[in-house]
Amino acid sequence: MNRLLLIDDEPDILRVLSRSLRADGYEVLTAENGKEGLAVFQKERPAIILTDIKMPGMDGIEVLKAVKKKDEDAEVIIITGHGDIDNAIEALKYGASDFINKPIRDEALSLALKRAEEKIRIREQLREYTVNLEKKVEEATRELRRKTNFMAKLIRSSNDGIIATDNHFTVVLFNPSAERIFGYRAEEVVDRMPAKSIIPKEVIESFRDESTGDDQRAELPWQETTIPIKDGSRIPVRFAGTLLHEKDQVVGSVAFFQDLREIKRLEKEVVHVERLAAVGETVAGLAHGIKNILHGLKGGSYLVDIGIENENPDKLKTGWEMVQRNIGRTADLVLDMLNYAKEREPEYEACRPNEIVEDVASLVAEKAERNAVSISLELDPEVGEAVMDPRTIHRVMLNLASNAVDACIFDKNTGKQWQVRMTTARIGDDMVRFAVSDNGSGMSDEVKKTLFTSFYSTKGHRGTGLGLLVTRKLVEEHGGRIDVESTLDQGTTFTVHLPERPADDEFLEEDKPQFRGEEESK
């Protein structure tokens, strides 16, 4: 409903005009002077005011000023006398929206009103937009804040250590888990330390490689390594990372670290428990072997008794040898069990693996010869001297070599030329590969499956069932790997990769964290 206020000191004009405006659908309020007009405006707040300019007392300009003071948005149309252009201009200066001349023509009036209404409508629309916009900005800001808080909380409470850097690889973010893993406080690190003093070289380098690469979205997949931490020790971690891009520019990087100390400890524990379980299983399986040994001891003492009784030195000697042999078997069995059950750190020293293999070959040579098995060696001179545990090499190779000879002795195919081959080869700078092959009985898939996992002996009374378990344990303690390939009736090859002294120890010597000295002087 459009309401307007009409102010004129001439009652006739007031009457005629208001009648015509009402006929056009307006609700018309009237006043005969400025003062009265202002009072009506105050009370009713019409959106449009039509006022005569020349009135006794308060004139149109003063009405205009007073209205505008009260309501900036009120539309005031000034009615001027014919040719009174100066007053009209002054009125416009004070914010009148329009003016019309007397005598008032209907067209001019309705045009002026329409323009005023349009202005009001646009202004209202604008106000609505503005209010809406403010609301939307506020909502968006709130959402953004919520998300930022959420992200910050995520980063803070993440169990992964998160380290972010700028494009110069200076640390800009170091979350509490990173503090826990690396041992530095965020204040010591953020904006102060280059990433390279905390993050291991190889990680940084892989980032650098990525940043020069063509693939903008290249990410470092999860991998395991060990890293030095503040106190100088090294801990195992898994890490992954990614470069942060904005348009085509690298703007920073972020890396995630997972502390594997606990996991590694548990893994070790599990291995130990499994081994004890295997020993338990073995004890059950060993009953047979132990009975055989006992039988041998009883048999031996029987022969000794007979020898004494009959004063027969031959019997006495044979019996005594039998007792001794079975004491030896007992010792082997007990030592195997002890070796398997207990943990042992390799004792690294410079040694010549090829010479150890030659020793082993000479140890099994006699037994091999007796059973028509030939032994050949193929030793890589490149192997030379290596920092390894010579006892590990000796025991592993002796075990595999005597297994290989046994595999030939047990072979049903007596038409074969039985052979055992022992080889060495240098692999890279810090790895030696040992292999023992035979063309004996070979193994079925079933036997292969249980080979390294638990007590298993295919040798009847001769085997303790522990030999390969001990062998694998020794190889693993040395940080190496053992593999087997075998075909039934064709033969078997065991391959052992042993690394020279693992990287762990040497790293400590040359790559202490830079902040260590400072820490100590505090």
């Binding site: 009975k291 029987y302 007979i306």
Partner: protein, 130 residues
């Protein structure tokens, strides 16, 4: 003429012991180191009794035992099992083999678990051979 006893065992210590026990008590010992050899020896030398180990490379005692007990001509040849394997386990394995489609075989004349005393061994042999 003294009775012939065949000892089938892959462990030389066991053979030496058993052979000595047999000699001490007037029997004629024969030796075989695996099932295959044992089978041949039974054919060639016709022993009066077989002392048989169960776990051996190249034809096990289990197989030789079943061959003896399912052979019409050999069925009555008495067998003493001398093994580190418990009697229960041996009988269970025989039962399983029979269910698997084999011919049922009688239990051995005597079952001795290692380690065995010389007296127990000789008593068992004398009981069977009289």
């Amino acid at each position: 003429m003294s009775k012939k006893v065949l000892v089938v065992d892959d462990d030389p210590d066991v053979r030496l012991f058993t052979v000595t026990v047999l000699e001490q008590h007037g029997y004629t010992p024969l030796e075989a180191t695996n099932g295959e050899e044992g089978k041949q020896m039974i054919k060639d030398a016709a022993p009066d009794l077989v002392i048989l180990d169960v776990l051996m490379p190249r034809e096990s005692g289990v197989r030789l035992y079943r061959e003896i007990k399912t052979d019409k001509k050999l069925r009555d040849l008495p067998v003493v099992i001398l093994s580190g394997i418990a009697e229960k386990s041996f009988l269970r394995s025989q039962k399983a083999l029979t269910e698997f489609g084999g011919e049922p075989v009688p239990e051995p004349e005597c079952y001795l678990e290692k380690p065995v005393e010389a007296e127990d061994l000789i008593q068992a042999i004398q009981k069977i051979l009289g």
